[in-house]
Symmetry: C2
Subunit: 431 residues, 2 copies
Amino acid sequence: MAAGLELASLHDSLESPVSESMNFLNEVSHRYPDAISFAAGRPFEGFFDLDGIHHYLETYRRHLMDRYGGDEAAVSRTILQYGRTKGIIHDLIAAHLRVDENITVDPESIVVTVGCQEALYLTLRALRRNDRDVLLSVMPSYVGVHGAAQLVDMPILPVRESGDGIDLDDLVSVVERAKASGLRPRACYVVPDFANPSGTRLSLESRKRMLRIAAEHDFLILEDNPYGLLGDPSGPPTIKSLDGAGQVVYLGSFAKTGIPGARVGYAVADRLVRGPHGGTESLADQLAKIKSMLTVNTSPIAQAVIGGKLLENDHSLRAANTLEIETYRSNLRQMLDGLGSRFGGDGSARVSWNTPAGGFFLLLTVPFAAEDDLLEVCAQRHQVLWTPLHHFYADSTPRNVMRLSFSHLLPHEIEEGLDRLAGFIREQSQD
Amino acid sequence: MAAGLELASLHDSLESPVSESMNFLNEVSHRYPDAISFAAGRPFEGFFDLDGIHHYLETYRRHLMDRYGGDEAAVSRTILQYGRTKGIIHDLIAAHLRVDENITVDPESIVVTVGCQEALYLTLRALRRNDRDVLLSVMPSYVGVHGAAQLVDMPILPVRESGDGIDLDDLVSVVERAKASGLRPRACYVVPDFANPSGTRLSLESRKRMLRIAAEHDFLILEDNPYGLLGDPSGPPTIKSLDGAGQVVYLGSFAKTGIPGARVGYAVADRLVRGPHGGTESLADQLAKIKSMLTVNTSPIAQAVIGGKLLENDHSLRAANTLEIETYRSNLRQMLDGLGSRFGGDGSARVSWNTPAGGFFLLLTVPFAAEDDLLEVCAQRHQVLWTPLHHFYADSTPRNVMRLSFSHLLPHEIEEGLDRLAGFIREQSQD
């Protein structure tokens, strides 16, 4: 065996807290497979149906047979051969956005990607030209945005979170300071509906103001919206639906509303890009060029499965997820009730939590630093898992906050999990 | 509509010849859909079978049912939920490599990727730490390697091609010059079996010498092998099968031997990586960390389709491709015969071609610069497409050489295509 490579000679994302976070969290869940996990942010599995894959494929196949006038070779080629870089279900995605989100976009401005994560990467890769280019993001923030930014060596300037999701006054001052120091803020990443990890939701007024700020300071908004459809339909509209100027790149995912195992997501990127000779293309076309060097195209078989699900539900994923939506709401209620009954009587308020209106997550504040070593102790002694909040800051500074995820749990698991968590917190608070 | 972004403010890969190449080539094939295409390097579609997808999925499902002792929820979760970053069919891929390629590797050193292109990107992203890190590649070279290298801002140092595939004396001098000027050559990219675009094949002796050079100068060999299985089974072994030291990262693809529409490939990366405290992990584990920030995991549905195909063929893709192999061989023979009968009598040898022993491509040298403008003329007047060789140099310098691909054509298309091509070449030679 040869000498081996030095980790220090590889890309520095591999030594970053983000990379170590993901490794650590995966590894803990692996070592305690029987623990109840408030850590995993996965969709509910209770309605998973393998036979559905076959139905969806056949539905999409019939759809193509109609489109191609019965030309079976053309249908096979579309699903089995190398395919269009921007994807094959862009028209169905555009219809879904119209039906479910009141977003009207040209299907040509959609790039179908390998999950939302690839869409995020493509966008950041396009926007990061040199050392001056920086990303803005509310902090704490989804681990994947830290990861994608690191892969393109793009620093993130943190923006303060508020009860409303993002502190827009802070956003403006971060942007102004950055510009004053020669930096070029290219985009602001935000999950306006039920953020990961905080579960917060931006008000309509904040959405509008954020659009105005982005236009004034010439940066894009990267609107990541994996959970919005699973919430109250009378909530505020997506930022993209308020955007008439291509200011928003909308990052879509079918992992929570379609099928996680298809790994299909997309970007809507209708901002115009001017070439050196005055011609224009869309930002989507630029993302497609990058995709052709990265993954070539998204599996058309996987796209066909999602396409079939969209077709069978008249393009509405809200309709397709009636049972799931009820499950997530009920789990959230049970979490809030369960926390109330276990910690609510504590007048000292040493344990507190926020109350999101939807999504997969909430934050629990405890009277001690919720750090990795304690997660290990908790897993071993109490068989319950949670996520230390520092992982969403991409640093190693422990904070007194845990992210609790409840999306994939059954009612009895939530009860038992909260009992175990209460036992652990009592134990720690007495130490 | 807002002002739009300037292309010059986006990542410079978007202004590169590579990006413009891919755009131009796609666009030409789009504008001349009825032309006979010696340009597209796609696998043969004649044996495509959409029903096969269902069979393969069910075969893989039964395989998992056995493994999980009939636990249907575990089977559904494996195929439909977020999955293991390194993939779920690594064991089947390891068995395939043993059966078809005489390569023995720990399944844990395999990362299943979104096509071979992602495997290439992950490897280059890991190896490119700073401005000193460079990639070596025989030139002309597969367009995708230029693309992936550009995404990580990694320059490629060209190595001369020889009739044997790569000029190893030139490799040594390129490496020595690079080191002398402070650069760090991290890897050499090579397609040893039926290279794209040249169709050349490395001899056994060259494979062994290349391994020795890589060990001596401490760089990795990136062995990309999409076509090897489709050639003569008595040909030289893969470089990976000769590698006892983890010197080779083997880049595998199921696009040509499995199903292109699954977009499943993989990297075998068993080189050890030493951490700061002396612990070791495999390079595969590092690639997985990058993948978790890029695409999270490869669609397990797509993996299940490929897994089913491997299972149904006792892990042998050579066995699965009996008909395809005969088709590619027969097409190659027909191309060589057809070129001979059309241009062979020309004693002046103004038109010449190489004679690969397999693969999808050959090179045709013509008495004029085979540039993009002429391709356009040829498409319009003669309805036949080919690829100007400069696209494989990632520059815009026209050369007197065309790449001709014949993998996806039917016999009558080859005859008609060669007639049209001969007409075009006659016309140009008279100009």
